[in-house]
């Protein structure tokens, strides 16, 4: 296709080529940082959490500070199943997806009843309730010690989830790519179109004869499935599930990662997750409080300077560059 001067719209969700380049980037990570695969695998699992949050925040305009509930539900469900003897990795993913989807259904049904502050508070309260449950039901979840002893069976009966984390990383990468491909299809579907309409103006959508609540609930379930898969992946690759996987910190961090990258864009969600977690890995190890200050400053800067996040800023810069090099192409 001829270059017509128009930039690919990176706020939109990626096409096949986009997903291909994400896959290549992930593969490059495998080759360049073979000693840090455990960290990289954690980044991939967290990406799913952030992408799931983007489905709600970026796609539907729902603000939640309780997304870790969906992730944690998937992680605990997969972890508990693994400890109790079911260890086949794909089955664990399915269990995580089911638990996440179910939690999405229940929490969405409650959270979507309210708007604004009340909605935010409900999302927090639901997640805290789940975290308290995980904390108190220590016979099932390991309580504050966390759930350990998760030993997933080798993938396809062949590849062990070893200490080097190679299997874990590649497995996570494959799952992430598969989920992105499915979400891409959904983004281009009639339902994806409907969600964009709801985000812009729910009243108009109702005047077209579409009920908003069931549509948002459906998106909540999809989001829960994605987050649940992420949680199950994290349980499989790290082989522990702690209370932090349902905690407020994780919910807040996920929102920070999303807006840092740019809500509403899949690339933004991924970019934000990678940037945030790499920074966290290096700065947080030095001093957790400096890390907190830095995140705070970043958040303030995002709101004041780059409301569309890194992806949006990159797009603005790119279009300026294009304007300079192809003055006739930019109208």
């Amino acid at each position: 296709m001829a270059w017509n001067g128009a930039l690919p719209n990176i706020r939109a969700w990626p096409d096949a080529a986009g997903i291909g380049s994400i896959a290549l980037t992930i593969l490059a990570g495998y080759l360049v940082f073979p000693d840090d695969l455990a960290l990289l695998a954690r980044i991939l699992a967290t990406s799913l959490l952030v992408v799931s949050l983007d489905l709600l925040v970026g796609f539907c305009g729902i603000i939640t500070l309780g997304q870790a509930a969906l992730f944690g539900a998937g992680a605990y469900a997969a972890g508990i199943a693994a400890v109790r003897g079911l260890s086949e990795p794909f089955s664990l993913l399915a269990i995580g997806a089911a638990a996440g989807g179910l939690t999405g259904l229940v929490s969405g049904a409650i959270i979507l009843r309210a708007h604004g502050l009340a909605q935010l508070v409900l999302s927090i309260a639901f997640a805290q309730l789940l975290a308290e449950t995980a904390n108190k039901a220590s016979w099932l979840t390991g309580g504050s010690d966390g759930l350990s002893g998760i030993a997933p069976a080798p993938l396809f009966g062949e590849f062990r989830f070893d200490l080097l984390g190679r299997t874990g990383y590649l497995f996570s990468a494959a799952v992430l790519i598969a989920v992105l491909a499915v979400l891409r299809a959904i983004a281009g579907s009639p339902f994806g179109l409907l969600c964009r309409g709801i985000r812009a103006d729910p009243v108009r959508v109702r005047a077209m004869g579409v009920s908003v609540y069931p549509a948002l609930l459906k998106m909540y379930i999809i989001s829960g499935i994605v987050a649940g898969v992420g949680g199950a992946l994290s349980a499989i690759t790290t082989q522990v599930v702690g209370l932090d996987s349902v905690g407020f910190d994780l919910s807040a961090s996920a929102l920070v990662m999303l807006v840092l990258g740019g809500a509403g864009s899949l690339y933004g969600a991924l970019l934000g997750t990678v940037t945030f977690m790499l920074f966290q890995h290096f700065v947080s190890a030095e001093n957790p409080f400096h890390w907190l200050t830095l995140v705070g400053v970043l958040l303030i800067a995002v709101v004041l300077i780059a409301p569309r996040g890194l992806a949006g800023a990159a797009r603005t810069i790119a279009s300026r560059l294009v304007a300079r090099w192809h003055p006739q192409a930019s109208r």
Partner: protein, 254 residues
């Protein structure tokens, strides 16, 4: 025989303020009824009650012989009772094609489909093409609605309503805010509305009203003060006093 849409002695109070009092009207398929009256006469209140956005204080709204008091606004649209907005309410980032697509898909109950590409739904796009052509806005189909001129947005609003294939269409000031020169396209679009569609229009542009409507209802202070043919309305002393009178007074004071 009962009318398609029948409003019987409908009243609405906001606290002590009476917005509508004992309003009755009936629409048959093919009717072109205009609802006019000075600002604050209760026109939009009435449309909101018919559309199901405001509960009635008293009276009944009957659609196809059924009392729809308990039918939600969304369900009324699905029954074929569709309204447009006085101020354009389009999704700024979506194209007219996508707006019409949503409307067509809703009519076919397919907005929930997850794994079919909207762009690849040829039959939907054929229908959208037809609607765009009908309103003369083929060229705008792919532009973001937020970037369209206001008159063009109003045409998209009408197209959306038509895409829902309504039986009754409530047009809330379709020409409001449109520059004088551009109302021609809206008049044209209204002229081409399906012949069997029942239309209730609220409009301040009297040229448009007298051209379009075959029956006029005049509201003042929430009450029907005149009902009849356009030519009669223009000469009715009550109408002149309530409507034109207040208009002239308003001018005089300004």
């Amino acid at each position: 025989m009962s009318a398609l849409l029948r409003i019987e002695r409908v009243s609405k109070n906001f606290g002590g303020l009476v917005a509508s009092r004992n309003v009755s009207l009936a629409l048959e398929p093919g009717d072109r009824v205009a609802l006019i009256g000075p600002n604050g006469a209760g026109k939009t209140t009435l449309v909101n009650m018919i559309a199901g956005l405001l509960p009635l204080s008293a009276g009944r709204v009957m659609f196809a012989g059924q009392d729809i008091a308990r039918v939600s606004a969304v369900a009324r649209v699905r029954m074929g009772l569709v309204r447009t907005f006085q101020i354009s309410r389009l999704f700024p980032d979506l194209t007219p094609r996508e707006h019409l697509g949503l409307a067509v898909l809703q009519r076919q109950r397919r907005t929930g489909h997850l794994f079919r590409r909207f762009e690849a739904m040829a039959e939907v796009h054929r229908e959208i093409d037809g609607l765009l052509a009908e309103l003369g806005i083929e060229a705008l189909g792919g532009r973001a609605a937020g970037a369209l001129a206001y008159g063009e947005q109003r045409l998209v609003e009408i197209a959306i309503a038509l895409a829902l294939q309504p039986r009754v269409l409530l047009l809330d000031e379709p020409a409001a805010g449109v520059p004088q020169g551009e109302t021609r396209r809206i008049v044209g679009a209204l002229d081409r509305l399906p012949a069997d569609l029942a239309v209730l229009i609220i409009e301040h542009d009297m040229d448009l009203v007298f051209r379009f409507a075959r029956h006029i209802i005049v509201l003042a202070e929430g009450e029907v003060i005149f009902e009849g043919a356009p030519a009669v309305a223009a000469n009715d002393p009550h109408v002149r006093q309530a409507y034109l009178g207040s208009y002239v007074h308003g001018r005089g004071r300004a």
